[in-house]
Symmetry: C4
C-alpha cells in the first residue's frame, strides 16, 4: 500500500510537469504577426523542438522512475524524502526547457546561458536519481532480490548520464549552445535504450507469486 500512494503522487507530479510544456506551445498562438507565419517551422521550430525534447526527457525520467520503484516493495521515510527532492528537479525541467526554446535563436549569449541552465537542471536530477538508487539498493529491506552485479551496472549507468550532462554543460558554457544540445540529445537517446533492469529480469518469481497489491 505504501508504494502505491508514493507512486500515485509521483505519477501525478510527472503528469502535470510534462503537461506544463504545452503552455510554451500556447504562447506561439499569440503575437502580432499573421498566424501562418507564426506557425511556420522556420519561425517557431525552437518551440516545437523544445516541446518534443522536453516531453521525451520528462517521459524518460518517468520511465526510469517507474522501473526504479518497481524494485521497491515498501517505502521508508528516507526514500520518500529523497523522492520529493527528485521530483523537485523534475518539476523544474519545464523552466530551462522554455529558456532554451525562447533564447536559442537570439543573438548574444542567451542561447548558451539557457543551455547551461538546462544542463545544470539535468545534473541535479541525475544526482537525485543516483542518490535514491544508492539508498534503495543499499537498504536491504527495500531491495533484496537484486544481485550485486546488476546493482553496479545500474550505478554505472547513472554515472554515464551524469558525465554526459556535465560535458554538455561545459560545452554550453564555453563553446556552443548547439553542440551542447546535441550532447544532451545523445544522453537522452542513451537513456531511451539503456535502462534499469526490470524486476522480472532479476527475480523471475516476482511475477508468479500472488503480489499483495
Amino acid at each position: 500500500m505504501d508504494t502505491r500512494r508514493a507512486e500515485s503522487f509521483s505519477d501525478g507530479v510527472f503528469a502535470v510537469a510534462i503537461t506544463v510544456l504545452v503552455f510554451n506551445l500556447l504562447s506561439i498562438g499569440s503575437g502580432g504577426k499573421p498566424l501562418t507565419y507564426r506557425l511556420l517551422l522556420n519561425e517557431s521550430w525552437p518551440q516545437y523542438a523544445a516541446y518534443a525534447i522536453g516531453f521525451l526527457t520528462i517521459g524518460i525520467m518517468w520511465l526510469n522512475h517507474h522501473t526504479m520503484l518497481a524494485h521497491v516493495t515498501r517505502f521508508d521515510r528516507v526514500t520518500l524524502v529523497l523522492n520529493i527532492f527528485l521530483l523537485m528537479g523534475v518539476v523544474a525541467m519545464p523552466f530551462p526547457t522554455a529558456l532554451v526554446a525562447d533564447n536559442l535563436t537570439s543573438a548574444g549569449t542567451g542561447g548558451r546561458v539557457a543551455a547551461v541552465s538546462y544542463g545544470v537542471a539535468s545534473i541535479l536530477i541525475s544526482l537525485g536519481f543516483s542518490a535514491m538508487w544508492t539508498y534503495v539498493s543499499a537498504h536491504e529491506d527495500a531491495l533484496t532480490r537484486l544481485s550485486a552485479r546488476v546493482s553496479w551496472q545500474t550505478r554505472w549507468r547513472f554515472s554515464a548520464g551524469l558525465v554526459g550532462y556535465i560535458i554538455g554543460t561545459l560545452v554550453a558554457a564555453f563553446v556552443s549552445a548547439w553542440a551542447a544540445l546535441v550532447i544532451y540529445g545523445l544522453v537522452a537517446i542513451y537513456y531511451l535504450f539503456e535502462h534499469l533492469p526490470a524486476p522480472d529480469a532479476t527475480a523471475s518469481a516476482a511475477g508468479d507469486a500472488p503480489a499483495p497489491d
Copy 2:
C-alpha cells in the same frame, strides 16, 4: 503492477491536458468590453465550441486509450516509449484547439491555417494510436486473447479515422475551415460510437478469473 502505473501516469496526463482547455475559457473573462457582451454566444461562441469539442476529443482519446490498454496485461519498454509518443500528441491538442477558437472568425487565412494545424495534430495522434495498437497486437505476450478478425477490425477502424483527418486537413488547406471542422466533427462522432472491442467481448473468461491486479 506494471500496467497500473503506466495507466495511472497516462490518466494523469489525459486529465491535465483536458483541463488545460479551461484556460481558453478563462480568457473570455478578461477584455475591455462589458461582461454581458463578452459572454454572449455571438461574440464568444468559438471559445465555447472549442472547449466542448476539445474536451470531447481528448475524452474520446482517453476512452480509446483505456480500451486499448485493457487488453495489455504487461508493458514492455517499447510499449511504454510508444505510449509516451502518443501522450506527446494528446498533450499538444489544446494548442491547435486554442488556435481554432481564436482564429475561426478572423478575416484572412487564419481560420484555415488553424484548422490545418488541428488536422495535422489529429493525424499524428492517429498514427500514434495505430503504431501502439499494431505493436501491442503483434506482440504475442501482450495480447494473446484477441482473435485475428477482431484485430483486423480495429486496424481498419484506426485507418478510417486517419483517412478522415487527412481529408479534413486537405479541405482546410485548399477549401474552407468550416467544411474541415464538419469533417473533424464527423470523425469524432464516428469514434464515439465505433470502438475497440472491450476485453470482455473477446475473452469472456477475463472477467470471471481472479485478476492479479
Copy 3:
C-alpha cells in the same frame, strides 16, 4: 479494473480543476497598489470567497461522484461517455467562479451576469449528474443492489439541487447577484449534508465480501 481507470481519470480531472482555482488567488499578488492593501479583505475578499466557495463546490461534486461511482461495478461505453460530459461541466466551473470573483463588486450588471453564468454551469452539471445516475440505476448489470426506494430518494435529491440552481439563476437574472449567491450557498450546504447512500448502507454484504479490487 474498468472502474479503477475511470475513477483514476475522473479523480485527476477533479484534482486539476480544483487546483486551477488558485490561479485566481495568484492574480491578487500582481497589481499597482501596495501589497498590504491588495491582500486586505475589503479589497480582495471576493477572490478569497470565490476560492473557498469554488473549492467547496468542486470538492462536494467530487464527493458525490465518488459516492455514485462506488455503486458501479463495471463501466460500459455509455457510462463512460456520460462521465466525460459530466467532467466537461466540472472542469468549466473555475470559469464562472472567476467571473463572479472579478465582477461581484463592479458597478453595472457585471455581478448579475456573472452570477447567471455560475447558475447556468451549475444547472448543466446537475443535469449531468442526474443523467448519469438515471442511466446507472436503470442499467441492471451496473447496479443491482440498490432498492427502488433508495433510487427514488436519490433522484429526488438531484432534482432538489436542480430546482435550487434554477431559482438562483432566475434571481440572478432579474433581482440581485447577492441573493443568488446566498441561494447557491444554501444548495451547496444542502449537498454537503444530504448525500447519496453509501454502498455499505444499501448492501451490507458489499463490505464483507472479498472485493476483487
Copy 4:
C-alpha cells in the same frame, strides 16, 4: 476501495499544487534584462528559494497526509469533508509562496506582509491537520489499532508546529520577514524528521495480514 479514491484524489491535488510552483520559475525567463543577469542568483534567488521551500513544504504536507491516511481503513463523510478543507489550504500555498518570492527583497513592508500571509496559510493548514487527526483518532471505527500514548504524541506534534507558525507570523508582523522565514524553515525541518507513527510501528500485524486492497 473508499480510501483508495480519497487518496487518489488527494494525491492528484497535492501533485498539481506542488507543480503550480514552477509557474513562478517560468516568470524569471521573461523580462527586459539579459537572460544571464535574470538567471543569476543575486537577482532571482528569492524565486529559486521560494520554489525549493514551497516544494519541500507541500511535499512534507503530502508525506504527513500519506502517513495519516495510512491509519484510516474506511472514510466516512466527515473525514472526506475535513479532507477537502485541508486540501483547500494546501492548494492555496503557492499563493503566499509567490508573494514571499516577489516581495522579499522589495523596499517597504511588502516582505513582512508576504511573510504574514505565508504564516497565516500555514496556521490554517496546521489546524486542518489537527482537526482531521483528532476526528480520525477519536472515531473508533476508523482507527482502533493506535494506542492512546501514540495518539497523544501525534497531537503534541501538530501543536508544536502550530505554535511555531504562530510565533513566526507574529515575528513577521512586528519584527522582520527574514526572522520569520528562519522560524518557518525550522518548523519545516522539524516536520521533516518528526513524523506520525507509521501503521507498521503501531500494529505489527498490519503488514503481515493479507490487506483487502
